[in-house]
């Protein structure tokens, strides 16, 4: 069989799905087999994603459409590959490989079906990035969420179940909002294909516009809950803190799914021909984003435990991205995409690092988030879990260096990619298309710099407490297989820094095609159905 690019588009969904389902047939005792199968699957995913990125970037940006069941557009449920979705696919697999390697240290033994759940989560993520149909997006969201419920509860335990209960209840309610939004949009436009919607929304009659807009707003609330916008994101830090470390590392991209969808839909629906609904919702995104940054800053400064600090860093990153989407300017969007990649890698590495650093400390002290001094030193000696494997000599040095690298990335200091991302955002804001900088933009600039400062203060405080002045000096015993993923992710950010030029050019091209969605819309609506089977056997 000949694999045309159109067929390769569905591979990021099929690879984790088939592998994950096949692994169900083996008992959990066969860990080596399960682990190698899922690692191979994620490596295959990475290779396919890189190939897809190259396809999408050729000829000044191609839009590859896969028509499921070979129905003609716009009736087919389709998968659409463009630069943005290819980039998100690569980011997913780049995060998945280290998280999976990390879990081999101990976490994949902590409960049943870790690998299957993990692969199904990847399937849901990839599907959400690829789909070009609103209802299909709902289905992939549910696949992703169902897997994440299992993973967030992986390893069980009182605190995890308590946090998981809230997480599931909130997301079930959010899914219902998603459905209401989708059905309102369908009732008004008669289509669910995103490209078709982009054409039909400006043509909606004036008297029906209010219903359509409320439908889109309800849909937006569902995504904002996922992205963690204030005041919809109170669940996020708690859930991420209590999730097992490799799961938290991959969950960092789950909050970015909400951002991805908001970015894509807002520019697709209200971008090209603004019409009456032009710029709908962008002030809410902007000011909501600012409020999220403020809430995140307060949370970062108030966090005593490292896990919560990382959880609130996710909120700061989400808030920054939301505010930038609200600004809807091409060059700022390009910088924001770079920031998205950089901050996701950094926070993901940080979540895994935290688990290693805090391993020797009692589980309760991480969880209660009380000051360490007040908590006393008695609990420090408790070792609640047996230590597997040999300690690396100098592990504390590697952990310390990784911690410093994470701090630099989160605070946005040179020389790592966090600085380039923030610098690019600030440059873009300070050189607006119209000439004058609006007062709203000044607020964003101030908050961006403040968030960096607060991250630096919090990280320095936590670093001194953990590495220089612990109540009981303990050398964390970590396996090589657990420190390697953290270093891998940090090297990825180093690569982002070194290759910043070409990557920024790619992001700019992505942002331009996002802001002028004509090629996306035409690519989808004019996609030819695949040739019948006889053609391929002849060749």
């Amino acid at each position: 069989m000949i694999l045309t690019p159109e067929h390769l588009v569905i591979a990021p969904i099929l690879i984790p799905f088939i592998t994950g389902v096949l692994l169900l047939f083996f008992e959990d005792r066969e860990r080596r087999l399960k682990a190698s199968a899922s690692i191979l699957a994620t490596i295959a995913l990475l290779m396919v994603s890189i190939e897809l990125l190259q396809i999408s970037h050729t000829d000044g940006g191609r839009v590859v459409v896969y028509l499921l069941g070979n129905w003609p557009s716009p009736f087919a449920i389709n998968l659409v590959l463009d630069r943005l979705s290819a980039m998100m696919l690569i980011l997913t697999s780049v995060l998945a490989i280290p998280a999976l390697i990390f879990s081999l240290g101990r976490w994949h033994r902590a409960g049943l079906h870790f690998h299957t759940l993990f692969l199904l989560l990847l399937m849901g993520l990839n599907g959400a990035f690829l789909t070009g149909d609103l209802f299909n997006l709902f289905v992939f969201f549910e696949v992703m969420l169902a897997a994440s419920y299992g993973l967030a509860l992986h390893g069980s335990g009182l605190l995890r179940v308590k946090a998981g209960l809230h997480y599931i209840a909130i997301n079930l309610a959010a899914s219902l909002l998603f459905l209401v939004g989708v059905s309102l949009i369908y009732g008004n436009t008669g289509t669910l294909s995103m490209a078709d919607l982009a054409i039909r929304i400006p043509q909606i009659a004036e008297e029906n516009r209010i219903i359509l807009e409320s439908g889109i707003a309800i849909l937006g609330v569902a995504f904002l809950i996922k992205a963690g916008m204030w005041p919809l994101g109170f669940w996020l830090p708690t859930t991420y803190t209590f999730a097992p470390a490799p799961v938290a590392a991959i969950l960092t991209i789950m909050s970015k799914v909400g951002i991805y969808v908001l970015l894509r839909l807002s520019l697709l629906f209200f971008g090209e021909e603004p019409g009456i609904s032009g710029g709908f919702g962008s002030p809410i995104l902007f000011f909501g984003g600012l409020a999220t940054i403020v809430f995140g800053i307060i949370g970062v400064l108030a966090s005593q435990a490292l896990g919560r600090l990382a959880g609130f860093s996710v909120l700061v990153s989400s808030g920054t991205l939301l505010a930038i989407i609200g600004l809807t300017q091409v060059d700022i969007t390009a910088a924001a995409l770079f920031y998205l990649v950089s901050s996701t890698l950094a926070i993901s590495a940080f979540f895994m690092l935290i688990e290693l650093v805090e391993r020797e400390q009692s589980a309760i002290s991480n969880v209660l988030a009380v000051t360490k001094e007040a908590f006393g030193e008695g609990d420090e000696e408790e070792e609640d879990e047996e230590i597997i494997g040999v300690a690396i000599p100098g592990s504390i040095a590697i952990l310390g260096i990784s911690f410093v690298a994470c701090s630099i990335l989160l605070a946005g200091l040179p020389p790592l990619s966090g600085f380039i991302a923030k610098f690019a955002i600030l440059t873009a804001i300070l050189n607006p298309e119209g000439g004058a900088i609006s007062s709203a933009s000044w607020w964003l600039i101030a908050l961006l710099i403040l968030s960096g400062l607060s991250a630096l203060i919090a990280m320095v405080r936590a670093g001194i407490r953990t590495f220089w002045a612990p109540a009981v000096a303990l050398v964390p015993r970590v396996l090589l297989i657990e420190i390697v993923p953290v270093v891998m992710l940090l090297f990825m950010t180093l690569a982002l820094t070194v290759q910043a030029g070409p990557i920024m050019h790619f992001m700019e091209a992505t942002a331009v095609s996002l802001h002028e969605p004509r090629s996306y819309i035409e690519g989808v609506l004019k996609a030819p159905p695949a040739a019948p089977w006889q053609m391929e056997t002849e060749e």
Binding site: F135, L158, K162, G164, L165, L176
Partner: protein
């Protein structure tokens, strides 16, 4: 028919939201179930309410779209029901685990002090 359906959806949403904000996990899950019924009916109503208009195309007969029920919302409802059922079942398991671990059916895992 429109009035009865909208009243039904309204009552389901009202009771569902009220139950969702109650402190017992059982009330929360019943609230979520009621809300999902309401949402399913709502999706259904988005295809316009029609009677005796099955979406069956006969060969040789010209299609008049006004005499057909819209089949898409029906397909959407089926998917939504299946997914909603599965996630509610999953939530039920977590609810039982929480009851077993904390010894209480309060959503926060401990009773509020009075």
């Amino acid at each position: 028919m429109e009035l009865i359906l909208s009243l039904g959806i309204g009552v389901l949403v009202g009771s569902g939201v009220w139950l969702l904000f109650r402190p017992r996990t059982y009330q929360v899950i019943i609230g979520l179930a009621l809300l999902s019924y309401a949402v399913n009916l709502f999706i259904f109503s988005m295809g316009r309410l029609t009677i005796n208009a099955p979406p069956i195309v006969q060969a040789g007969v010209e299609i008049d779209s006004t005499t057909f029920a819209d089949p898409v919302p029906q397909a959407l409802v089926l998917t939504a029901i299946v997914i909603g059922f599965a996630t509610t079942a999953l939530f039920l398991v977590v609810l039982l685990a929480s009851r077993g671990l904390t010894g209480t059916d309060h959503v926060d895992g401990r009773e509020t002090e009075r």
